[in-house]
């Protein structure tokens, strides 16, 4: 069984200088407390780095080595960094050293190539050669199963994929589970017997070809075997390519998620630009209408004054026109009166007029001539002028532009506010985008990413189709081969053929036993895992109605309700609990035994679950190391719950923003 005894980190991440964590050699739990940013996840990654030589960030991407060394150390001129992991495995002491040193001739490293990696593995004090080193490391901790030993509690929801059909993540986890359970030993054996069986079949065909009775059938079989080989190779090629594309798809989808925010910003910026342009165009239209309105607005503006003047002019005109009209009417009567005087006879009453009355009439005519003298020269001129003025002013009457201008100006003001608003938002979005990089480059990259993902998805569909077609063809050929095989067996009568057939039959029977054994072993393993996971689950769960876990083909675990129904849509908290139960059960059933190192083990669990998990920890593995932040779980309660099972405590203490000290806590 693998057990870590100590870890030394030098100048790595936030850990300045040389710092060592001593794990006890006794079975139990070690707590490493640390708040956010103090290096808990870095410690988890340091274990991964020590064992597998790779360092990845939270997103799973490889990191820049130049940035791995401690910042304060770099300021002091220390650019190298190192980890030393000391272990016990099956009675042997191992010391694994991995370090990156700056290459000779490089002053200040700026890229990965400026470093060279040095790896040493000592076994009981002696340095192992490279092949032995790699072999031992692969034996004691194969990378494919590391997820069950070193993991982030916040990422346990990936085990939900085991409940889904045909997911890439699910397949990967299933493969890892079978590896830790030792299934590959059997499946590899089955492959070997299958290969032996194929060899004997070829031998049999070769013998059949040399026999006149069976030559034709055998030749046909050889041709079909060649065809089958071709299709198998093509199928393998397509499968490998499909695996590559699926990995690429995952990477692109991850990148897409990360760049989701950038894409969203770019889209916002585009929308805002379009909106601003539309509004500015509309604003130009309105301004054009306003300018057209103000061009003639002066006419409407003077209308009220024109009305007042027209009233005055009208009054004067009336006086003069009345006066003029009065004279015209009086003249008519005066003419008649003059005729009467001249003729001494009134035409109206047809009577003579006596002399006395004639004098009166003459006087009347004189007086009237004076009274109704009509317009003076000035008054005539005035009348003419007033008429001209009236005509001019009448023509100047125009409706006011006030209302239309009010409406247009209100629309303009509103648009200006909207444009300012949108421009402010656009500026903010632009500034945020510029923090991510050059906007044109980002836009290009986003387009490229989207296109790449679309192409990748299309290629995956094509490859899946291609694989299926090859599988169908292989099946077709195999069926034809089976038919020919039967024909061959019926036609074979000589002893060589009979012996060859016997060997093939024997291999196939052995292979069949293997396959049945594997299936039976898998079923037993699943039952054992289900039983052990259920036991752990019931100790952790706080819901009495959840009575057990049920395993599926992919080792996914469903929760069963007391009614017998499967619990659908379980919460993130219960996902966490189920995943831990599975991991604990795998550790119990695996031939490979080792420590569990868990970052953020309690995730979003409630206090009851946290307490239950703490109690259950010692049952999951002999050595448990937990990286938890202060208050992720009540420290005192954790100590009381674990009791003697708690062996060591450390605290990641901030000395500065870039310097964390690993301090042992006295128990």
């Amino acid at each position: 069984m693998l057990q870590f005894t100590s870890l030394t980190v030098e100048n790595f991440g936030p850990f300045k200088g040389s710092q060592t964590i001593d794990f006890t050699s006794e079975d139990g739990v070690t707590f490493i407390w640390g708040n956010n940013g103090r290096g808990k996840t870095t410690l988890l990654n340091i274990f991964r780095y020590a064992l597998f030589g790779r360092f990845q960030n939270r997103r799973g991407a490889d990191v820049d080595l130049a940035g791995m060394s401690n910042i304060e150390g770099r300021a002091d001129g220390h650019y190298d960094f190192k980890v030393v992991l000391r272990m016990l495995n099956d009675g042997k002491r191992y010391e694994l050293t991995r370090q990156y040193v700056v290459r000779a001739g490089i002053g200040v490293p700026s890229k990965n190539d400026d470093y060279e990696q040095k790896v040493y593995l000592k076994e009981d004090g002696s340095i192992l050669p490279v092949e032995a080193r790699d072999h031992i490391l692969n034996l004691i901790m194969p990378q494919e199963v590391s997820r069950f030993f070193l993991f982030d509690g916040e990422l346990l929801q990936e085990y939900e994929e085991l409940l889904l059909e045909d997911t890439n993540v699910g397949e990967t986890i299933k493969s890892s589970i079978e590896k830790i359970l030792g299934v590959p030993v059997l499946t590899n054996g089955a492959l070997d017997t299958h290969a032996a069986s194929e060899d004997y079949k070829k031998e049999k065909t070769r013998i059949a070809q040399s026999n006149a009775q069976t030559q034709k059938i055998a030749s046909h079989m050889v041709a079909l075997e060649a065809e089958k080989k071709e299709h198998s190779e093509e199928f393998q090629r397509l499968s490998d390519e499909l695996t590559g594309e699926l990995e690429k798809r995952n990477k692109l989808e991850d990148e897409s998620q990360q760049s989701e925010h950038v894409r969203s910003l770019l889209k916002s910026m585009e929308t805002l630009e379009s909106d601003i342009k539309e509004k500015k165009d509309r604003r130009e239209e309105i301004i054009t209408q306003i300018v057209a309105a103000t061009k003639d607005a002066w006419r409407g503006l003077i209308s009220s004054r024109v009305e007042i003047l027209l009233v005055e002019i009208q009054t004067k005109l009336k006086y003069l026109e009345d006066k003029d009209n009065s004279q015209k009417i009086a003249l008519h009567f005066l003419e008649d009166m003059q005729k009467a005087v001249d003729n001494k006879h009134c035409q109206l009453c047809d009577q003579g007029i006596d002399d006395g009355y004639i004098e009166k009439l003459r006087k009347r005519i004189n007086d009237a001539s004076t009274e109704f003298s009509g317009l003076t020269v000035d008054e005539k001129l005035q009348l003419q002028s007033l008429r001209m003025r009236k005509a001019t002013l009448d023509a100047m009457k125009s409706s006011s532009k006030k209302e239309i201008l009010e409406l247009l100006e209100s629309q303009l003001d509103s648009l200006n506010v909207q444009i300012d608003d949108s421009s402010r938002q656009h500026k903010a979005v632009r500034e945020e985008l510029e923090r991510h990089g050059d906007i044109e480059e980002l836009s290009k990259d986003t387009q490229v990413s989207i296109k790449a993902l679309a192409q990748c998805l299309k290629k995956i569909d094509n490859l899946k189709e291609g694989c299926q077609q090859e599988k169908d063809k292989i099946k077709e050929v195999e069926n034809a081969l089976t038919t020919l095989e039967e024909k061959l067996n019926r036609a074979s009568t000589d002893s060589d053929m009979i012996e060859a057939k016997r060997k093939v039959d024997l291999c196939e029977q052995i292979n069949d036993i293997f396959e049945r054994g594997i299936a039976s072993y898998r079923d037993k393993l699943k039952m054992d895992v289900e039983k052990d996971a259920t036991e752990l689950f019931l100790q952790i769960s706080n819901d009495p109605d959840y009575i057990s876990l049920k395993i599926n083909e992919n080792y996914g675990l469903e929760m069963l309700h007391v009614t017998g129904a499967i619990v659908p849509l379980r919460s993130a908290g219960f996902e966490h609990v189920v995943a831990l139960s599975l991991i604990g059960a795998l550790h119990k059933n695996a031939p490979l035994r080792g420590p569990i190192i868990m970052d953020s083990p309690f995730g979003r669990l409630d206090p009851t679950h946290k307490s239950n998990i703490t109690k259950t920890l010692p049952k999951m593995s002999e050595q448990i190391v937990l990286l938890a932040y202060t208050h992720e779980i009540d420290e005192q309660q954790a100590r009381e719950t674990l009791g003697m099972a708690l062996k060591k405590e450390y605290r990641l203490t901030r000395y500065s923003s870039f310097y964390t000290e690993i301090e042992a806590q006295m128990n």
């Binding site: 300018v291 103000t294 006419r299 503006l301 003077i302 004054r305 003047l309 001019t392 006011s400 100006e409």
Partner: protein, 117 residues
Amino acid sequence: MVNIRLSKEANEIAERLVETGKFENVITAAKFALAFALKNHFEEFDPITYTVPDSGGNNYNVGTVDSDGQLAALLRAIYPDTTTPYMYARSLMVFGLTKIGKRIEEEGMPSVSALCE
């Protein structure tokens, strides 16, 4: 009169009105100001005694200002005794622009519709 020359201040006020984007040019603004003066300050304005403070503004050809002769006809109709309608136009423009300028100073740039009230 061949040209109408505004005072320096009146020209500047007209240019500010044009800068709002709502007036096509200084002439449009000046005619608006003339109408503004007639509407709001007819009684107080005496074209005979009013003196334009200076001729520091730009020069505008009457053919451009009053291409259809309507402005002159209007002013003759309003002031029948005048024989110099364009001098009256000049005075009214300067007077009107000065009044608008004072309003801008006191209240900030008003909307055109507010000036039409």
